[in-house]
């Protein structure tokens, strides 16, 4: 690509990024709505929550579409503790309702611990946000019938199998949330424009200015350049082979739905690890060979952090339902991915260490 063409495109993208940032600032300025953060005491006694509901009042200044995001979690409690408190295996079932003087149900949802980015049309005025704690199948069915319709109530209630809260406890529940107006283009779209523009600029800079004939010549000799090519090819063949095998395994039903994220993440980790290990072994991986001892230590720390995160999340997931649809499954996927990353970093660190020892031996000879 000609450098002049690249420069023009980079300038266009820079303008787009600037427009995106300007748009985000504008969207933030124009945002009007309600934002809250509160804590309430909740007591679980004889299988029932006391109080059974918590309400908060708020006002909206402008008519129009509003985005609702709500999070409610017991403080000082690990997710694993919730298992003994929750009616189902994987969540702390709560019904959320936004009501006004004119409309008893402007917005209703039921979820475990959060409800994000739902767009609803709201008129300027005063509203009440209420969290209902649904501690039995009947309570949930009643809630569903009232807010989602009688036809779906029984089916929805069947999603959950529970008796009641399992033990008595006192909770401090933290509530956070926003009900914000959507004026013009959403701030998320402006953010997407910024990300795409900046990514495009980086790619263009890489293509046009960093390379064989660019401002930063690669400091590799002919053998190293050849080996780098082989390393890239090896990484590509690895991911193609891996994805082919996983595609067949998936088609044959060997991969459960909860395993898709870690399995396909595993392909990326494997591809990068194979490519990096080959590059390190053939002395053509740019920065890692500069200060190997330091890099082995850094990689070791990253490995330990990922391993700790993986074990922590997997242990929590094991206490819930790792293959369900709730928090347990999410924690399981996060834990699995962290362990895959840990394995990748460990392999790279070990290869770097072995290569270092091999080079020391050769230098002594």
């Amino acid at each position: 690509m000609k450098k002049t063409t690249a420069l023009i495109l980079i300038l266009v993208l820079a303008l787009a990024a600037a427009a995106g940032i300007w748009g985000m600032i504008g969207a933030a300025r124009n945002d009007s709505g309600y934002s809250f953060s509160a804590q309430k005491n909740l007591e679980i006694k004889g299988g029932k929550a006391e109080p059974e509901k918590v309400s908060m009042d708020f006002g909206i200044d402008e008519d129009g579409d509003h985005t609702v995001s709500l999070i409610w979690t017991p403080m000082g409690k690990e997710l694993s503790d919730l298992k003994d408190l929750q009616p189902s295996d994987y969540s702390f079932i709560t019904g959320c309702v936004i009501s006004s003087a004119d409309d008893p149900c402007v917005y209703a949802t039921s979820a475990g611990w959060m409800s994000v980015d739902t767009t609803i049309n709201m008129k300027a005025g005063n509203y009440t946000l209420t969290f209902y704690y649904l501690t039995s199948r009947e309570a949930y069915a009643d809630f569903a019938a009232k807010y989602f319709g009688t036809e779906s109530a029984e089916t929805m209630a069947d999603w959950f199998e529970w008796d009641s809260f399992k033990k008595d406890d006192k909770l401090v529940v933290s509530y956070r949330g926003t009900v914000s107006a959507e004026n013009g283009v959403s701030s998320n779209l402006w953010l997407a424009l910024v990300i795409v523009s900046v990514s495009g600029m980086l790619i263009l800079i890489m293509l046009a200015y960093v390379g064989k004939d660019g401002i930063r010549k690669a400091d590799y000799d002919e053998r190293q350049q050849m080996e780098r090519g082989k390393a890239s090819a090896l990484g590509l063949y690895t991911i193609i082979g891996y994805l082919l095998i996983m595609f067949i395994a998936d088609a044959l039903g060997f991969i459960g739905s909860g395993l898709h994220t870690p399995v396909y993440m595993g392909g990326l980790v494997l591809c990068v690890t194979v490519s990096a290990a080959y590059s390190i072994w053939h002395e053509c991986y740019f920065a890692l060979n500069q200060n190997r001892v330091r890099n082995v230590i850094v990689l070791g720390i990253i490995f330990l952090m990922n391993l700790a995160s993986g074990i922590f999340n997997m242990r929590l997931a094991a206490k819930m339902d790792p293959f369900g649809n709730g928090s347990g499954s999410r924690l399981f996927r996060v834990g699995f991915c962290a362990i895959e990353l840990a394995a990748g970093f460990l392999v790279i660190a070990v290869v770097l260490f072995l290569k270092h020892r091999k080079d020391l031996r050769e230098e002594e000879e």
């Binding site: 000799d221 002919e222 053998r223 050769e362």
Partner: protein, 64 residues
């Protein structure tokens, strides 16, 4: 096949692999790979090595 001629020519001048690598502008591992026969250098690199060691192409790289 190992390139013992290159190794002995380098040793005769009391040069380490790193010294020779610095002289011809490649990494030490590349010189090591050539000596071990793991890598066939391009003609340009062969010429640079010959020049650095004061040898001809035939003397260092011709297999008899």
């Amino acid at each position: 096949m190992k390139n013992l001629k290159l190794k002995s020519a380098r040793a005769a001048l009391d040069l380490s692999q790193q010294d020779l690598a610095d002289m011809v502008g490649v990494s030490r591992q590349t010189i090591n790979s050539i000596e071990k026969g793991d890598y066939n250098p391009t003609i340009n690199l062969c010429r640079a090595i010959c020049k650095a060691l004061g040898k001809t192409l035939d003397e260092l790289f011709w297999e008899e």
